[in-house]
Assembly symmetry: C2
Homo-oligomer: 250 residues x 2
Amino acid sequence: MRTVRLYTENDLAAGLSVTLPSAQAHYLGHVMRLKAGAPVALFNGRDGEWLAKIASIRRGEAAVTVESQTSPQDAAPDLWLLFAPVKRARIDFIAAKATELGVSALAPVFTDNTAVSRVNGERLAANAIEAAEQCGRNSVPTIQSTASLTERLTDWPTARRILLCDETGAGVPVADALGGLPPDHAAAPWAILCGPEGGFSRQELDLLAEKPIVTRISLGPRILRADTAALAAISCWQAVLGDWRNSSGG
Amino acid sequence: MRTVRLYTENDLAAGLSVTLPSAQAHYLGHVMRLKAGAPVALFNGRDGEWLAKIASIRRGEAAVTVESQTSPQDAAPDLWLLFAPVKRARIDFIAAKATELGVSALAPVFTDNTAVSRVNGERLAANAIEAAEQCGRNSVPTIQSTASLTERLTDWPTARRILLCDETGAGVPVADALGGLPPDHAAAPWAILCGPEGGFSRQELDLLAEKPIVTRISLGPRILRADTAALAAISCWQAVLGDWRNSSGG
């Protein structure tokens, strides 16, 4: 059985004792049925992955002792996913899958055609954490606060390029767009921007078209759902520009 | 509102009257609340997409009259997805997403580490049909009967190449693998092969390694779930070899 991996906000170093929150204690004791002495892998996004042993575990409480580093902190690619919130099951799905595929931040953005009016940031984070624990990454994507697309673009970091998933078909085929970038664009930090079901409004597309940092792509002749488009774009970006280029997977 | 699209097994030609099965009649009348005279788009995988009008609709029965062709039959890329069956929700998801992303066939294969013992082919087909209706394609992927990986490889069509998603990390990074193919391999029909959670067995990997038709790829350093790996591989294949190359999306 694979060692259980848990995300923690605590610092991690040899010899430290860490008290786990009750949800994690419950998971270890009641779901995984682990006892004192059992190994647990911990990561916090800063200190790499560490092997810890359960020091004590009982009804809703668990303490572990951190023993040794099992892998150094990995540097996930600097890729944000900006996505229009969709219905609950699909947003859970986007958070989990984007984490597995290796994004560094999840940023919900309200667009003109967004039908959902509220985003549960804690739920997004919980899905991202669970996916990070399972896929072996040593970090959890940052959950950015929800903003409108216009707000988001107003204070946009100038160096960060945007890969715009344009469902109108007016974009460049994704492989051509990513493969043909000048080296400074290829090496830049990026954000993938995916619209809601129904796509971006004319005004939004015009606003984005004005920006030299935007690369407008097409993902083929079929109408992809918002969640599918996000995953497809992340996969293509990772394959061409990200850390799927020199992988040594686990 | 977008015109409702329905898959039918009937022939489609101008002037034909088509009686729809009761599930479709129910969907048009009770879910979409359409009345006689309302437009419906129909496709059957052979005759392109046709505009039809509802001729009559009442309790569980609907007849439509086929009027004119709205798009010719599209030629979806010849890409099979061979996947180890996973739990119900994830298999629904694979069927729907792979259809959206444009595969031509779905083939469940039992592998050494497959934990699921039965595949509901009708359910697979229903998910594929629903996704095809929504994403605008004029065809539905073929659902191949479930077989073991060994059986499947025994009578394998010699011209069809296999893109093996190898979670051990021993494969070639996907962009290099797809971008570096000789032209006859790039133009061949393909199948993407994804294993179960837990991966392929040593024996399976050895069997596959012997076959010159197999291209073994890596999808990065994280451990992708089986469904995520399938979608990522299809996306990369479509971008480099498939119909995302010259898209004119809708």
